[in-house]
């Protein structure tokens, strides 16, 4: 048994951390948040050149051909600086859809561009408020043309290609590859709690759409890919949780009140200890997820839901208490606390809300996978 990353993976993590810090760390997120840009183009290009976008994409499709474990350590570092780049949409989701279900031609058409950061991918699933399920999908494809409205679509404002969930002529939920720069696509950027990762409404009126995977397999494939993406995103959340905890710790050491550092008050100390506990449990669950992702274990669905629930909560917990520890300063726009708070709460909804994943976790544990939980 060995529940740890390899030395090479740790070295990659270090390298990505240095790269992101050299570029300004969290300041990059703030810059995007306060501008009209939908993401940091230079940073994204830099990540592509570093080879991290294509880390888990095979070499034949323009990637680096490392493993998903490598992508996990990259994700954690992106999370630590809450990087304002569409990696989750383009790599954890779009590229993963193509890898899992794409035809050779589809892979060849898009994967090299995604790995090189020349094109950005997105996953268009949602159609309005409420918990997402296959029954809510109304968008449809007829004669190879897509009609319908998807909202919100993460990074839909900047994406070049989308994997869209829609009904086929027979009414079965299926997936389609749609070129968002082609005809019949309209997009509108939405304001959101985390504008450093854009959200958009995509309106399709006869956009050319190409089937991805089998007709009627849409929900099944989407579930599988979202499980994989959930583990990668959990690593981003973990990185964010750790960083928020460190910020709170540093401030607690430096801020004085009543003649002593606030970190010497037990109310603060114990709050920080609890944040550490959340982050540690989440980390352990993420390791379980990473193992399942890399080994393709049958426990993957349970591991994904566990990592997702645990990491979402840890990041939310650390981000909200980070503001609390900072007092009034924590509620200023100038301090970085709100950046983590925004990202924590946005990521907790991406891929489906925490309660949705809690539900899935219990489903998965009670259908034949009880042993995994025990």
């Amino acid at each position: 048994m060995n529940l740890d990353f390899s030395d090479e993976q740790k070295a990659l993590k270090e390298q990505v951390r240095r790269f992101l810090e050299d570029r300004g760390g969290v300041a990059q997120m703030r810059a995007v948040l306060t501008s009209d840009a939908s993401y940091d183009k230079d940073l994204y290009k830099g990540l592509a050149e570093l080879g991290v976008l294509g880390a888990a994409i095979p070499e034949e499709f323009g990637g680096v051909g490392l493993s998903h474990l490598d992508l996990c350590v990259v994700a954690e570092e992106l999370g630590r600086v809450i990087a304002p780049v569409p990696v989750a949409s383009s790599i954890y989701l779009a590229a993963e859809f193509l890898l899992q279900a794409g035809s050779q031609a589809q892979k060849e058409a898009w994967l090299p561009k995604l790995a090189a950061g020349e094109a950005i991918g997105a996953f268009a699933l949602n159609e309005g408020e409420g918990r997402m399920g296959p029954e809510k999908i109304k968008a449809s494809v007829s004669g190879g043309k897509l009609t319908g409205t998807k909202s919100p679509v993460a990074d839909g404002d900047c994406a070049d290609v989308a994997i869209v969930a829609a009904r086929s002529e027979s009414g079965a939920v299926s997936l389609y590859v749609v070129d968002l720069n082609g005809p019949g696509v309209e997009r509108r950027t939405l304001n959101s709690i985390d504008p450093s990762r854009g959200q958009a409404v995509l309106t399709f009126s006869g956009a050319p759409a190409e089937l991805l995977g089998g007709e009627g397999d849409g929900w099944h494939i989407a579930t599988q890919v979202m499980d994989r993406a959930a583990i990668l995103m959990a690593y981003e959340q973990l990185g964010g949780a750790d960083r928020a905890l460190e910020m709170a710790r540093d401030y607690a050491l430096e801020r004085m009140a009543f003649g002593r550092p606030i970190g010497s008050f037990q109310a603060i100390k114990h709050m920080l200890a609890d944040m550490y506990v959340s982050a540690t449990l989440a980390r352990s669950n993420c390791y379980y997820g990473a193992w399942a992702l890399a080994s393709g274990a049958s426990e993957l669905p349970v591991a994904a839901a566990t990592a997702r629930v645990s990491a979402s909560q840890a990041f939310q917990h650390c981000a909200k208490n980070n503001i609390q520890v900072h007092g009034g300063m924590g509620f200023t726009f100038e301090y970085d606390c709100h950046l983590f708070y925004r990202r924590a709460n946005a990521l907790a909804l991406a891929l489906g809300s925490v309660s949705t994943w809690e539900d899935m976790l219990v489903d998965r544990m009670t259908t034949g996978n009880v042993a995994a939980a025990a």
């Binding site: 048994m1 010497s264 506990v277 352990s284 009670t366 025990a374």
Partner: protein, 423 residues
């Protein structure tokens, strides 16, 4: 990253499995499986003897205290082999409960601080279960604040070099079954409290030692009061230097947190089966959305603990020393068990009140409800563990100390606030 055995580990596992299969007390298996938290469940024979005979059998075959050196009665095995042994021992592991304090805390303290001769004399019978040990640390006026203890050890005035001990310990688990005790006492009240302590071990059969059981909140009596009246301890039974007791005790306490916290289950698998069994609105509880949300919360904690343990084992097998971050095991397990039990009783409805071994779900959740408060106190309370995480893991400043540079005898305590003020 993998959960596979290496070929050597697999061979070791096979060897262990076949030995356990041929030697384990299978006639106790059913009783052990129905054990509840705080109760080993053996009724068909004397449970103490059942524990001792399994331990002896293991020791004779070289399976006792696997990670200890051979010359001290151990098996000289790697941390990973120990983990494999524990997995394979399975349900029979609960027969080791009698020796947890001795082998998990007292033994490592003796190993770290005693001279070679003492180690060779004391450790092998501890490993083989022939001699049981208890931990004589807490006192009525000093639990969390252990260094505030008052039991006095003074040099005998007969020139023998022996120590004479007077005082009282409390909450001593297993004292009634113990042959030896690890005792921390005050040898100098005129210096600040951490500096005037010294560690000893003594025979629990020594004249002047009196053990009185305490009835616990859950109805059992596993801990005791221990009184010392002019108890004589030879100086050769001192561990560490005179005045070094605090340092010695830290070895014990860190091992305590590790052995209480590691591999602790919160009862989640049992909760999950309860939820498939009891109904809410005419449907299995597991289908109810409120129940599902709670279940998921318990699941991620249980699994988080499990994989935190595996990460610690991985670190150990790479030669790293487990540090204060391991405090989270007991901290999470204690509170989670308690919440989980309350939730289980709630699902059982009014029947949740019934606590019978042959009652609903074997009275298992009731036993957890009634024993888990102790988990949050023993071996460092939740609050003390949060202090440890805050201070030693996160590097926050310690509490302001009003007793730090004051001679022990001048420190106000619950019983002598006025006296101190007057002094």
């Amino acid at each position: 990253m993998d959960f596979e055995d290496t070929p050597e580990e697999a061979a070791f596992r096979a060897e262990v499995r076949s030995w356990i299969d041929a030697n384990a007390p299978k006639h106790l298996e059913d009783q052990l499986k129905r054990a509840n938290f705080g109760d080993m469940g053996v009724t068909s024979e004397d449970p103490i003897q059942a524990c001792k005979s399994w331990q002896k059998k293991k020791a004779e075959a070289g399976w006792a205290c696997l990670h200890w050196p051979k010359e001290y009665g151990g098996g000289n095995r790697t941390p990973m082999e120990r983990v494999i042994w524990n997995q394979e021992e399975g349900i029979f592991r609960s027969l080791g409960g009698l020796f947890t304090i001795g082998q998990g805390m007292c033994g490592p303290t003796v190993m770290a601080w005693a001279d070679e001769e003492t180690k060779r004399r004391m450790l092998p019978p501890l490993a083989s279960g022939e001699e049981v040990w208890c931990q004589l640390f807490s006192e009525p006026a000093s639990g969390s604040d252990l260094a505030g203890l008052r039991t006095r050890a003074v040099k005998a005035d007969d020139g023998s070099g022996d120590w004479i001990v007077n005082g009282q310990k409390i909450w001593t688990s297993g004292a009634q079954n113990s042959d030896w005790g690890l005792l921390i006492a005050r040898t100098d009240p005129d210096v600040p409290k951490h500096k005037g302590l010294t560690m000893f071990f003594l025979s629990m059969k020594s004249p002047g030692v009196e053990v009185r059981p305490i009835k616990q909140a859950n109805g059992q009596s596993s801990f005791n009061e221990v009184y010392f009246t002019d108890v004589r301890i030879p100086d050769s039974q001192r561990l560490g230097a005179v005045g070094q007791g605090w340092e010695v005790s830290l070895t014990t306490l860190m091992n305590e947190r590790l052995s209480i916290g590691s591999g602790m289950s919160t009862g989640f698998p049992q909760l999950l089966s309860l939820c498939m069994d009891v109904e809410v609105d005419g449907k299995p509880a597991v289908q109810d959305s409120n129940v599902r949300s709670k279940l998921a919360q318990f699941a991620v904690r249980e699994m988080g603990l499990k994989y935190t343990g595996m990460r610690a084992i991985t670190a150990l097998s790479k030669g790293e020393t487990p540090g204060p971050e391991n405090s989270i095991g007991k901290l999470v397990a204690g509170a989670t068990m308690q919440d989980l039990a309350m939730f289980a009783l709630d699902l059982q409805g009014q029947s949740g009140v019934i606590w019978e071994k042959d009652g609903p779900h074997d009275g298992r959740f009731q036993a957890i409800l009634m024993r888990s408060p102790a988990t949050r106190i023993e071996g460092g309370s939740d609050e003390i563990l949060r202090n440890i995480i805050g201070e030693r893991v996160l590097g926050l400043p310690g509490d302001i100390r009003v007793d730090k540079d004051v001679a022990f005898k001048d420190i106000p305590t619950s019983g002598r606030k006025k006296a101190a003020a007057a002094a």
